[in-house]
């Protein structure tokens, strides 16, 4: 079976429809496929206790996503002063690793600042630090539904000197469902 991005987005639309109707929703990973309803029912029964606990953990909550994008690109091969090519390579790797480590620490600072800003409306957070060369941080926040709109505006107003902050959602709690 070939599935497409349109199918994935349709899945999201369906999950969102359910999410807007109930107080607690556990999105299933896309794609989640069963032969028939009986098979699905059997799996839900088998996992019932675990899923009930997971539902309680997200009851009344939704997810906000935050992406922090570096405003200046990191230099892949920094200039170093070395005559020999081997030494030059080693110094470049040292500078690159040091730069990457500085970036990682900076990304953690940004995460901590955003989580503090979220305040009492934040239940849980999950971070991906430096997931790519352009992105400092991909942050998932499980927040109280009633507080989500105001919290989103608050986070969008955040300014950091070297990253641009993008806030997404509110979404069903994908990151906190599994």
């Amino acid at each position: 079976m070939q599935l497409s991005k349109a199918d994935a987005l349709r899945h999201h639309a369906d999950v969102t429809l359910v999410f807007e109707t109930v107080e607690a929703c556990l999105p299933a990973r896309f794609p989640t496929l069963f032969a028939d309803e009986a098979s699905l029912g059997a799996e839900l029964e088998r996992r019932g206790r675990e899923l009930a606990t997971a539902l309680d953990a997200v009851r009344g909550a939704c997810e906000l996503g935050v992406t922090a994008v570096w405003t200046n690109p990191e230099i892949a091969s920094p200039e170093v002063d070395a005559a020999a090519p081997g030494m030059r390579y080693m110094l470049q790797r040292q500078a690159a690793i040091g730069g990457s480590e500085r970036r990682r620490l900076r990304a953690v600072e940004v995460a901590e600042a955003l989580e503090r800003e979220a305040g009492s409306g934040l239940r849980r957070a999950r971070r991906r630090v430096c997931p790519s060369t352009e992105v400092a941080l991909s942050l998932a926040l499980l927040v109280e539904r009633q507080a989500a709109a105001e919290l989103k505006q608050k986070l969008e107003r955040q300014t950091q000197r070297d990253v641009r902050i993008l806030v997404h959602g509110p979404w069903p709690p994908y990151t906190f469902a599994g």
């Binding site: 079976m1 070939q2 599935l3 497409s4 991005k5 199918d7 994935a8 987005l9 899945h11 999201h12 369906d14 429809l17 359910v18 109707t21 556990l26 999105p27 299933a28 990973r29 896309f30 794609p31 989640t32 496929l33 069963f34 032969a35 028939d36 309803e37 098979s39 699905l40 799996e43 839900l44 996992r47 899923l51 997971a54 997810e63 996503g65 992406t67 994008v69 352009e134 991909s138 998932a140 993008l166 997404h168 979404w171 994908y174 990151t175 469902a177 599994g178």
Partner: protein
């Protein structure tokens, strides 16, 4: 060139759809947009969402569609 804000949002959402959420059954292999993930040999029958979707559609639209049938 960096992705636009909308593209970042779509990337974040797609990441959640494909990599997060409850995993209920993991035996199948499927291909999503040409990327092989897991093997699939199942058919899907899920009626709950269809029922919800039907209830959310305006009654006039449902009646109009029914009349055309």
């Amino acid at each position: 060139m960096l992705p636009t804000d909308e593209e970042f949002t779509l990337l974040e959402l797609t990441d959640r759809l494909l990599n997060r959420g409850v995993v209920l059954a993991g035996e199948a292999v499927i291909s999503v947009a040409g990327v092989d993930l897991i093997y699939l040999g199942l058919n899907v029958v899920l009626t709950a969402v269809e029922n919800l979707r039907t209830r959310r559609e305006p009654a006039a639209l449902r009646n109009h569609d029914a009349a055309e049938d």
